[in-house]
Symmetry: C2
Subunit: 213 residues, 2 copies
């Protein structure tokens, strides 16, 4: 008997199928509305098999909502030219997502799911703390690194939402190059610029050495 959505069971394929089904269901119903039974049916596996891979539903949701890219790898080498770090971060993120329709759909589903309810927000918070903030920690200036990293995150998540989820023109229509030029300086200032009042209007020159680590 053919079961819709059934995928071959076994090893990595099964784990990936479960994670993929979880993302699809969570994107539709939010994390709290996603049942292990519905996820198992979508993945074409027995519900008991899910607990073979993931001890709890919360662990499954958290694994499914972890960004499907190696954030540290994506940002590898950013910061070796400190004055280009802002444009590098924006450019690498946008070009990666723009070039891969499947990744783009996954990012949209992840953002929709992660913002839809409290369980998912917790998972996203944990994923952000682990991957994005850790990856940025080597790039941001040493004064107030958490504030800088979360400011970067706030602009990036807002840009991704406007471009890929809400799709507001012209942010949804411009090529990456134009957005890199306009948003890069924002990221640059958050990474290494002066955050104190009254000083931002001047040039945000980077100080080599002590301002980096």
């Amino acid at each position: 008997m053919a079961i819709r959505g059934r995928r071959p069971a076994g090893g990595e394929n099964t784990r990936d199928a479960i994670l993929s089904a979880t993302r699809e269901i969570v994107a539709q119903t939010g994390a709290s509305g996603a049942s292990v039974r519905a996820i198992a049916a979508r993945a074409g596996v027995d519900p008991a098999l899910i607990y073979h891979y993931f001890p709890t539903k919360a662990a499954l949701v958290q694994a499914a909502l972890t960004p499907p890219v190696d954030v540290a790898g994506l940002l590898d080498g950013v910061g070796s030219e400190p004055e280009d770090a802002g444009t590098e971060v924006v450019g690498r993120v946008l070009r990666l997502i723009d070039a891969d329709p499947v990744l783009r759909d996954t990012v949209v589903a992840l953002m929709r799911a992660a913002l839809s309810d409290e369980d998912a927000a917790s998972a996203l918070r944990a994923a952000l703390a682990r991957s994005v903030l850790t990856a940025l920690r080597g790039i941001v200036a040493p004064d107030r690194p958490e504030l800088r990293a979360t400011l970067v995150g706030s602009q990036l998540i807002g840009l991704l939402l406007a471009r890929y989820v809400i799709r507001v023109p012209p942010l949804s229509e411009l090529g990456p190059d134009e957005l890199v030029v306009t948003v890069g300086p924002t990221i640059q200032r958050y990474l290494t610029g002066t955050l104190a009042p009254g000083e931002w209007a001047g040039p945000t020159r980077l100080e080599p050495g002590p301002a980096r680590r």
Copy 2:
């Protein structure tokens, strides 16, 4: 017989009860999953009464997702001192939401709902085009006003998400004053600064007269 959630029916109270119930249901299930029957039950009214106020479910969802503040009024007078416009925008938005727990909950529900599915994203896109972008249009510099306004929106929506929905520290914990100081310059540059490449690192001085309207 007491019906849970029943509210007095009649005039503005009924309409408000229907809108409030719609926001609650949409925040839980997304716009596409919200049925008129469930909304009616939550509001304590007959389903037929909903169509007395709103011709279609789409019109109801759009009305419910329209931001519950007068955005143009909130930004009234911003731009009379052009060099303070960025900090004024950030400060007024954050102080308004921080000061009103009911408004804060509504904003979180609206953002969750509006990001949860495609119907809701369309409603948010329409609301943004109508209110936020229109309100900003008198403040932004005349070159590329749509790009400037949507960049402002991208940073603000990212900041509100990080602070109120995902609640990432330190963005969720700092007082408005500290955030105004750090995010205000970003908004200022998007509103009136130079968007062209290579020029951002210099002072983003405002040019009076021709750069304003």
